[in-house]
């Protein structure tokens, strides 16, 4: 975003006018290619706010831990705004107590891919228009920004923040999924045969170390007791074995059916670089096809798998 000072000003205003008690945003990270979520309670700190392609978290995740009656301002890219709406629909947050500052998003960057493409350890990184400017010690290197946008942002179909209290900056029409780029992982997965797909799924899950960073980074994973933590009965194998990790990935995806906001925060949090958005994407597609439901699209409608109505076609069988 070219002029971020307006966002800082707005954050300072809502704090000083006591419209909110806290603003959640991002600040510069301690190492190159990273940023840190930031919780601001005093006006002066709003100067530290930033937003760039290295802001990899979905800030809505931090609402889980906050008291429902706390008044919170939150810097919202489209994904954050959709997550907030989904959390409102699921009664996890109180919309009246939130103040959403909508901002445009140019797609989040894959820091690992950038590091791999760099000629050495990156010591500084800046975005500049459609370029990424790297410093590697004394050397400089320029990368094409579009080539490093994460898969989940490419082909993003909902770049407009929804239901915000104020929108700052314009949504750029620039395409994030340039034609010259190779297919995303998810697209190529779709085009494979069932056997090949299972093979790919197996290869991805076998690296999983069950650190649950994907779960913890997800704005829609808020259960106080996750099924994997349940001991009596145990729903899945506890071990880092194919049985254990595959069960984790499958059940996690199913619990996100029609709920996943497709922000990709899970994938970006994963230290083992494991693909998983393709699973929830597929389930969301099915929700659209079978139930005409799309997450965040409507202000009231509950996700189909989270609702029961008397005229349901199929009955529960035990």
């Amino acid at each position: 975003m070219d002029d971020f000072s307006q966002v800082r000003k707005e954050a300072a205003r809502i704090l000083s006018e006591k419209i909110v008690d806290m603003v959640i945003g991002f600040k510069q990270g301690t190492i190159p290619l990273k940023s840190q979520p930031m919780f601001i309670t005093s006006q002066e700190d709003t100067d530290k706010l930033i937003l760039d392609g290295f802001c990899q978290n979905n800030l809505a995740v931090f609402l889980h831990d906050q008291p429902k009656d706390k008044r919170i301002g939150i810097i919202c890219r489209a994904c954050e705004s959709r997550a907030v709406r989904a959390l409102v629909i699921e009664h996890q947050v109180n919309r009246e107590n939130l103040y959403l500052i909508g901002v445009p998003c140019m797609g989040i960057l894959d820091w690992k891919k950038i590091q791999d493409a760099a000629d050495g350890p990156v010591t500084n990184a800046q975005e500049s228009g459609d370029q990424i400017l790297l410093e590697i010690g004394d050397k400089k290197q320029v990368l094409i920004r579009n080539e490093f946008i994460v898969d989940s942002c490419r082909g993003c179909g909902h770049r407009e923040p929804i239901d915000v209290d104020i929108q700052i900056g314009e949504i750029s029409p620039i395409e994030m999924n340039a034609d010259n780029l190779p297919q995303t992982w998810g697209e190529s997965f779709k085009s494979k045969s069932a056997d090949e797909r299972f093979q790919l799924f197996t290869e991805e899950t076998e690296r999983c170390i069950r650190c649950y960073a994907c779960r913890e980074a997800c704005p829609m994973c808020y259960c106080t007791e996750c099924f994997v933590d349940h001991i009596a009965p145990r729903w899945s194998e506890s071990m880092v074995t194919p049985g254990g990790t595959q069960a984790w990935h499958i059940i996690r995806a199913f619990h996100q059916t029609g709920r996943c906001v497709e922000c990709g925060a899970c994938e970006r949090a994963c230290p083992m670089d494991i693909k998983m958005v393709y699973l929830t994407d597929k389930l969301n597609d099915d929700m659209k096809k079978e139930y005409g439901f799309e997450v965040g699209e409507n202000e009231e409608k509950q996700p189909p798998f989270a609702t029961i109505t008397l005229d349901d076609k199929n009955r529960f069988k035990y």
Binding site: Q36, N57, V61, P121, E203, R210, C211, D229, R234, E237
Partner: protein, 335 residues
């Protein structure tokens, strides 16, 4: 002990010789980056650059999941332990030092963890020093260094056309008995590389002071401030080479009692049957992690429980940086 030499052109041959009597575990390329695994061909080994593995090699001795017992009719049977001897080749000194630290927990004669002990007894650690320190490493400030010796049987320094091989234990010495000796110039070159590897601005952390300051801060709200963005995942601790916490679980379908890595950063970690949780929020859990590394280890072993590998810094999904956290809490630098 006499330093030896492996010429680069003879590297593959030397390693291959070990395959007969040893399983060789070494860093290779994998989807997520460098990964330690058993190799079948020396060509798989990836030593170039200063990049360490993302997943720490502590799992060679403490696998993330392992069977403690197979259980039949209330009879608990320990599975056979890896019968073959092993060489872990290409560990970085920070990770070797972590093994050395973990020996104080698992490898005590009067109180031995058999699973760790049996693996350790049959393994040699050959470390490769880091000619230039990795991006987020600070090993040189916490009692070790890019050519630190703790935990290794052999320490290797890469020269232009050869590896300078320094045996540190008698077991290490025995393994490389038949290699040619390094000459004085090579010795001098190795020393130069070792000297040049440290970052000049880095200063040794004042561990006793940090420890004291952390204790002083124990009951303050600073922990809430530094942990506000923490997600409570397992990244920083699972990837930490010195974190050793585990859970014991019965897998009924497999008829096995197993242990899995666990972490104090998980909410359920210390929750009690009564519902009471002594570490109810991220603040207490973060306090445990930081204090374990920089206070409790110092109490028990007079050494930092952090070897400065930098993994938690590089991989934390919200960029919580242990150096910055310690500094915020104590106003003392660890770098």
């Amino acid at each position: 002990m006499m330093p030896k030499l492996i010429k680069k052109i003879e590297f593959d041959k030397t390693i291959s010789k070990w395959f007969k009597s040893y399983d060789v575990i070494a860093p290779v390329s994998s989807k997520e980056g460098i990964h330690f695994k058993r190799i079948k061909d020396p060509k798989e080994i990836k030593l170039d650059g200063n990049q360490n593995s993302i997943y720490p090699p502590k799992n060679v001795f403490l696998p993330q999941s392992e069977v403690l017992f197979t259980v039949k009719n209330d009879n608990y049977e320990m599975p056979d332990q890896a019968p073959r001897k092993r060489i872990v080749f290409g560990m970085r000194p920070c990770d070797a030092r972590a093994v050395w630290l973990l020996d104080t927990i698992f490898n005590k004669a009067d109180d031995l963890d058999l699973y760790w002990g049996k693996r350790r007894e049959k393994a040699l650690i050959i470390s490769v020093g880091c000619a230039s320190m990795c991006s987020n490493g600070f090993c040189d400030t916490v009692g070790s260094g890019p050519f630190g010796k703790d935990g290794s049987d052999i320490l290797i320094t890469e020269l232009d056309d050869a590896y300078f091989v320094d045996p540190l234990t008698s077991a290490g010495e025995a393994l490389i008995k038949s290699l040619p000796e390094a000459d004085d110039t090579q010795g001098k070159n190795a020393k130069l590389i070792q000297k040049g590897s440290v970052i000049k601005e880095h200063q040794a952390a004042d561990l006793p002071r940090i420890r004291e300051k952390l204790y002083e801060a124990f009951n303050t709200s600073i922990w809430k401030d530094v942990s506000e963005s923490c997600l409570g995942c397992g990244v920083c601790t699972y990837l930490c080479p010195t974190c050793f916490c585990f859970d014991i679980v019965d897998e009924i379908d497999r008829s096995e009692r197993v242990r899995n890595w666990d972490t104090c950063m998980f909410r359920v970690y210390s929750a009690e049957a009564s519902g009471h949780n002594p570490r109810p929020t991220k603040a207490e859990r973060t306090r445990q992690r930081i204090m374990h590394k920089f206070a409790y280890w110092v109490d028990n072993e007079a050494a930092s429980g952090c070897t400065g590998c930098g993994r938690c810094i590089s991989q934390c999904p919200v960029n919580l940086d242990i150096r910055e956290m310690v500094q915020e809490i104590t106003s003392l630098k660890i770098q």
